[in-house]
Assembly symmetry: C4
Homo-oligomer: 260 residues x 4
Amino acid sequence: MTDRFSQAPIMAVEQTKNVPKTAQEAIWQVVMANRILGNEGILDALGHVSLRNPENANTFFQTRSISPFEATRDDILEIDLDGNVVTKTTLKPYGERIIHGAILKARPEMNAVFHGHFAAVIPFSVTNTPIRPITHVGSFLYQGVPIYDDYEPGGGMLIRTKQEGERIAKHLGLHRVHLLRGHGCDIVAENLPRLVAAAVYLRDNATIQWQIILSGKDAKYLSSEEAKAAMETGLFGASPIDRMWGYWAARVKRNMPDMR
Amino acid sequence: MTDRFSQAPIMAVEQTKNVPKTAQEAIWQVVMANRILGNEGILDALGHVSLRNPENANTFFQTRSISPFEATRDDILEIDLDGNVVTKTTLKPYGERIIHGAILKARPEMNAVFHGHFAAVIPFSVTNTPIRPITHVGSFLYQGVPIYDDYEPGGGMLIRTKQEGERIAKHLGLHRVHLLRGHGCDIVAENLPRLVAAAVYLRDNATIQWQIILSGKDAKYLSSEEAKAAMETGLFGASPIDRMWGYWAARVKRNMPDMR
Amino acid sequence: MTDRFSQAPIMAVEQTKNVPKTAQEAIWQVVMANRILGNEGILDALGHVSLRNPENANTFFQTRSISPFEATRDDILEIDLDGNVVTKTTLKPYGERIIHGAILKARPEMNAVFHGHFAAVIPFSVTNTPIRPITHVGSFLYQGVPIYDDYEPGGGMLIRTKQEGERIAKHLGLHRVHLLRGHGCDIVAENLPRLVAAAVYLRDNATIQWQIILSGKDAKYLSSEEAKAAMETGLFGASPIDRMWGYWAARVKRNMPDMR
Amino acid sequence: MTDRFSQAPIMAVEQTKNVPKTAQEAIWQVVMANRILGNEGILDALGHVSLRNPENANTFFQTRSISPFEATRDDILEIDLDGNVVTKTTLKPYGERIIHGAILKARPEMNAVFHGHFAAVIPFSVTNTPIRPITHVGSFLYQGVPIYDDYEPGGGMLIRTKQEGERIAKHLGLHRVHLLRGHGCDIVAENLPRLVAAAVYLRDNATIQWQIILSGKDAKYLSSEEAKAAMETGLFGASPIDRMWGYWAARVKRNMPDMR
């Protein structure tokens, strides 16, 4: 299988109009991404997303320590890549914000980070089973999904020190996704719409793949060539990403009156 | 199994009152079909349906490139069977509209086409497992569900060229449903209510059948005779189809205030 | 296993205050049962319930041919035990109403009948796997769940003739539940609240039991003694049945404004 | 496996600000816990929670015999640890309230008890399969989850006598959770937010663990050291518990207008 999942640098995907130009636009997009992830059941009380500040590559935006479901503009903090809260506030940040800072520092070509715990990825993480692209919308997984298991002793499996943040970023390397054993996953992307799409389709791909694993049947996964082409022309193309973001935002607006 | 799933032409099912008589009626039915499929979770941001124009057999109606969940009358485009947008508009059509044109061209007795990616069919598509009718509402599957795996190299597994559209239509042949490996399925029907019913019950049949496959138990599938009779007298009879469409529309009205 | 599931007559469970005293009360209870079954996802567009007329033991109440989700007082028909519509109306009854008449005729001690197709029972019906009580709320299944597979040739697996209605009633015998191969199940009960509870907990019991079957593990099912006691003192006791009906009705009221 | 799940006393977790100081605060928290558990699908018509009276360690608060989904302040009864209703009322208490009294009597360091029947735990209870922590939010399960199977003969598997209440409390011992064979589970915690979190994450852990069991794959569970640290620094820390409770309460407020 290693021949299919080479460690070559992941191709750069052209940035779309979905990248906010100002801090204010970025903050609003972070609010919407939180609401989408809460509304779609990708995040519950736990887990978080971040977006690099378009006005300062050394800081990012993220909600304070509340559930994504409840995020508003007033809950967004500006945080530097070492995890220091830049916003003058007494609001409490997430304990694991260091994950976001460390990955954004290590991946200057990327701007958005997801950390979450949805159930579909856990069986893969504890059984050392590689996640592989099983459909065209899982194509972004084609370079493999490594599994992190190098937790700080006594840290309760949470990533809260600068050292462990750096280990996490190093382990993720040039991948878009890695799993954390018995914990969840981290995802990195060029922008928030792609990040949200990657979280949704990682869940869907893992769910379907596990059903196939349970059957014991041999399956035809996407080849690297198929996956690369599917990613460039399909999933992460500007048009489908706009359609997806529009769809998820429309569902937020239907379900959450304060977002209309 | 081939003896049970012969390739004889699929019987013509009498057309019901559900076929709109005018372009305006057809457009409204396309909007409702989109909303139903979004509301029932059969389509998400991706996937699409179409209906032949009752005033011009050489064109069909379909939404522009948005999620079915959001469709309104203003989003419906008229498109010819080669995929050219006939409506004078700058609105963007779906990249894969050629699937609809090619199938409607090859199947003059049919009027409605579905293309989608719901999870239940994927395991069958990648493990070469035949979908077979396991209940009376799965009876329309009795002539078999072939699996397409002849993608354009470099096309990202999307169907966007006239050539591949023709291959898709040829592969579907006289079937009502085929799967696309690692991608989803296409369905064709006489009218939109039957098409929506086929999508819903394909999902349900696949879901149940996979549970049986996981158990490793032998199952008694519908015989061809049972399936034919179930289809003629049951699932696709005028009365159940009206009841189903009424049900799905009632749920759309409950959940989507703008459709009341 | 036959030693555990003897064919002795099922005990008579004391009738509760939940039996309506008048036709008008019965009609309203039928409306509510329809809404509950639609709201809980036990019935979709298809399937139906009935309740014997408390003012005439030879007729029963049932909605016309619409989805249970949409039922109102104006949709309730009075039908005799041979399936003749007594109500002076042009409204269309269900094709399968003969199931209800035949079972109510054969079971004078019972007053309510359910016919539905929820997915959880299908795998048992096509693999000849006995459903057995796995929890206290599945206790009513303790005398076994036989599987009917004696369909009228050419009838499309639907039960629409007097003859097949009688075969169905005979096959059900003194059981509370039987399955129809590749189709669904019939349930009979003393009153509508018990009938609805039996439908919900049949689904739950089947769902859990299938998970155990998939694991290949040996399981400890309820013994006949446990099941009998659980049924008398627990599930079908007046207090839990009132609580369940109150719960399901409260959910209907929350979700369906016209029922408030 | 016994080496991993020693029977040493479970560590005392520091009490948080989540413990109400007055009876009135406690009553309101019991209402909210009921609504949360109903809204999250952890409890349906059956099952119940309780909280010790902060003004009298020998009584607890619990709703009368209604579904948690419907609980209001007016439904809360004060009950002593032997199950006698202290509130002057004709409202009917739950038959199984003795579970709550017996556990609160045996565990003076604890203040909240849950009894419920969600599907995810049943397969473990009937196949004698130990539930083990598979993620950091399942860490509170690290000392093992024993399975009770010592029902009163003829009691219908319900816990309604003082004697059986005491057996239940003794069987639970110093654990946080035990299962009841073919019935459900009991959970005990320092306060209601932790209790609700334990119920939600027991469900999630059991759901994921069963998927792994179905696969037949070896899995890496949390070590005792990991689990202890995850529990102290993570799941049951003040900050995540506040975030979880805020999240679940926000969802109640969105879905239940009378709770706004």
